[in-house]
């Protein structure tokens, strides 16, 4: 905990992450699925220093029959309810409304999948849901396949960010979609949060180094032997990647770069 705080506080030149006017010092968003217990989840949130935590509405026991997941999420954290299970825009809209009516706030991560094998987001339906929910006053963070046209339309529709997938959700494959996410980073004037498929701290750092504004991780951490420890590692890696990006790192070259000029002799005065 202390180490993470140290790393985060030492940097003062960085502008904070701002989503829908809300300021965040952490650039790490944590998902809450797949954890072996609610108490481990609680410890992991603390270790991650995440200020935005996603929860699937489908898993919230609003009737309070079981341990309510919301009780394990500290009040300081912004709750981002996701529409997991929605197969189209209409279902996502209903889930969002139900979340708000249930007192879960108006920050919504739209997650629409109509493929149970690959769980790829449906950009068309996501756009429709975004348009509708923004009009209803929600702060909308859409999870999407990294497509420039869709990203532009999402922002035009009023999305607070775009959340392109790094690779297949839960796959730990890292930045398979790197080239396309880079285009979004370069072209979209809104925070780009890399979501899905980020399996290791180094992959998270890689996303941040290329200029992503934040990273969301869940599966890798939830299924690790020591989730709080890995969450801490992610927090540090995300911060390290951010510092690297801010430093305007030198490009990576395929060949050695001689530090002495090769043609200098031509210009030497004999």
């Amino acid at each position: 905990m202390k180490t993470t705080e140290l790393y985060i506080s030492e940097r003062t030149e960085d502008t904070p992450l701002v989503i829908a006017g809300k300021v965040f010092t952490s650039r790490f968003l944590l998902g809450t699925g797949k954890f072996k217990s609610k108490s481990i989840l609680e410890e992991t949130i603390a270790a991650s220093n995440a200020e935005i935590v996603t929860v699937a509405l489908r898993r919230i026991d609003l009737e309070r029959h079981e341990e309510n997941i919301l009780e394990y999420i500290p009040k300081r954290v912004t709750l981002l309810v996701n529409t997991s299970g929605a197969r189209n825009a209409k279902e996502a809209i209903r889930i969002a409304r139900l979340a708000r009516e249930s007192g879960c706030g108006n920050w919504i991560k739209i997650e629409i999948m109509n493929d149970s094998k690959y769980l790829l987001p449906d950009n068309n339906e996501t756009l429709k849901a975004t348009e509708a929910l923004v009009k209803e006053g929600f702060i909308v963070l859409p999870y999407m396949f990294p497509d420039l046209y869709t990203a532009r339309e999402l922002i035009k529709a009023g999305a607070a960010t775009v959340m392109p997938l790094g690779s297949l959700i839960g796959s730990n494959q890292g930045l398979k979609a790197k080239a396309f996410i880079k285009i979004l980073i370069d072209e979209i004037d809104a925070p780009i949060i890399v979501d899905a498929g980020i399996g290791t701290p180094s992959q998270a750092a890689e996303a941040m180094e290329m200029g992503a504004d934040a990273v969301l991780a869940n599966t890798a951490i939830a299924t690790a032997g020591d989730p709080p420890l890995l969450a801490k590692a992610f927090a540090m890696a995300i911060h390290a990647g951010r510092l690297g990006y801010l430093s305007t790192m030198p490009e990576i070259h395929d060949t050695a770069d001689a530090s002495s000029p090769l043609t200098g002799f031509l210009y030497e005065k004999s």
Binding site: G33, K34, F35, K36, S37, K38, L57, R58, R59, I60, D61, L62, E63, H65, E66, G85, R87, N88, K90, E91, R94, I95, L98, M113, N114, D115, S116, K117, L119, G170, S171, N172, T219, A222, T223
Partner: protein
């Protein structure tokens, strides 16, 4: 077995895997399967409870305790009894209910099912049905009423064997039953559970056919959440209909192989299985467990007054609370709530 593509495995390979008596192979399958399960489902297990609405049946399936040739007391829950039973189950904290009937469109017509589903919505957030096969339009009606899932097992894909054991009634129509998952999916219902009854015929061949059936369903209806069940035949009223016994080793191999081939598919395990098998199968690929089950009509609140024959005997009699505690001890998060009812609408 490092390929997720079903097309990469053939029947001969399944037979070889199931027949090879090598503890190393079993261990290897289990390791792969448990790793994949952990990756895709984490350390969570969804719990559900079955609730029998009726045991009236117009089909004669030789292996089933409810078949119309079995002289058992027939019973169908009244509106009041449905409330009583559901209230009893809901008190355990269970939010996913599986409503079952025998195969009788006369005793349990669509109107009755709709009423039961309507009542269930007051008590549960996830409602599934295991009933006689219906037409798409009927499923659509039920979907609009709040049904989230349908369980329909082909029992066996061996058509000759199918005819031998499904002697009369609607269920004897192999082709109609085979197309049922497609009719369910076309209605908009989000979850479909498919399966085979282990012990009716050559297990490898049935498994191979089930994998193909699931593969076809995934192509046709990719948005549906699929799960599979592998109930092993149990004795009913002293009869043993299994022509081949599926031992625990084979059973565990089936679970593991299924997980390796279908990383994201749900795998259900009922209380037909013993606590020993259930407890060990937990980390190996199973994602959904029934708990606190009673397989008699009125078994939760009405049975103490009127005794009924169960559809099959259960082996794991632990309560929902005991299962929750067990899961926690084994470092699993028991998931009671896995869906929020939203108004189902046809799109």
């Amino acid at each position: 077995m490092d390929n997720e593509n079903i097309m990469m495995i053939n029947l001969a390979k399944i037979k070889e895997i199931l027949n090879t008596q090598s503890p190393d192979l079993t261990e290897d399958l289990a390791r792969q399967s448990s790793g994949i399960t952990r990756q895709y489902f984490g350390r969570t297990i969804t719990l559900y409870t079955p609730l029998y609405l009726s045991n009236y049946c117009s089909s004669y399936c030789t292996y089933c305790g409810f078949n119309n040739h079995n002289r058992i007391d027939r019973m169908k829950l009244t509106t009041r009894q449905i409330h009583l039973e559901m209230r009893q189950v809901a008190q355990t904290g269970i939010e996913n209910i599986l409503l079952l009937t025998g195969e009788s469109s006369k005793a349990t017509p669509l109107s009755y099912l709709k009423e039961a589903v309507g009542i269930a919505k007051h008590y549960f957030t996830g409602i599934s049905l295991e009933i006689h096969p219906l037409e798409t339009e009927d499923y659509r009606e039920l979907y609009r009423h709040g049904v989230d899932g349908v369980t329909v097992y082909q029992e066996t894909y061996d058509q000759t064997r199918y005819k031998e054991i499904h002697l009369s009634g609607k269920k004897s129509d192999y082709a109609y039953r085979l197309k049922t998952p497609e009719r369910v999916a076309a209605s908009g219902i989000r979850q479909i559970s498919m399966g085979i009854l282990l012990g009716l015929t050559d297990v490898a061949e049935d498994l191979w056919a089930l994998y193909h059936h699931l593969g076809r369903m995934e192509r046709l209806y990719p948005g549906v959440e699929y799960s599979l069940s592998f109930p092993r035949l149990r004795k009913i009223k002293g009869h043993d209909f299994a022509i081949c016994n599926v031992d625990d080793i084979t059973f565990i191999k089936i679970i593991c192989l299924t997980r390796i081939l279908f990383p994201r598919v749900g795998i259900n395990l009922s209380t037909r299985e013993t606590p020993r098998v259930r407890d060990h199968a937990l980390g190996l690929g199973v994602t959904r467990l029934s708990a606190g089950s009673n397989t008699s009509v009125g078994g939760y609140a009405t049975l103490p007054l009127q005794g009924q024959e169960p559809q099959f005997d259960i082996e794991d009699t632990r309560t929902v609370e005991e299962m929750i505690q067990l899961l926690k001890t084994k470092q699993f998060d028991p998931v009671l709530t896995d869906w929020r009812p939203i108004k189902n609408e046809i799109v």
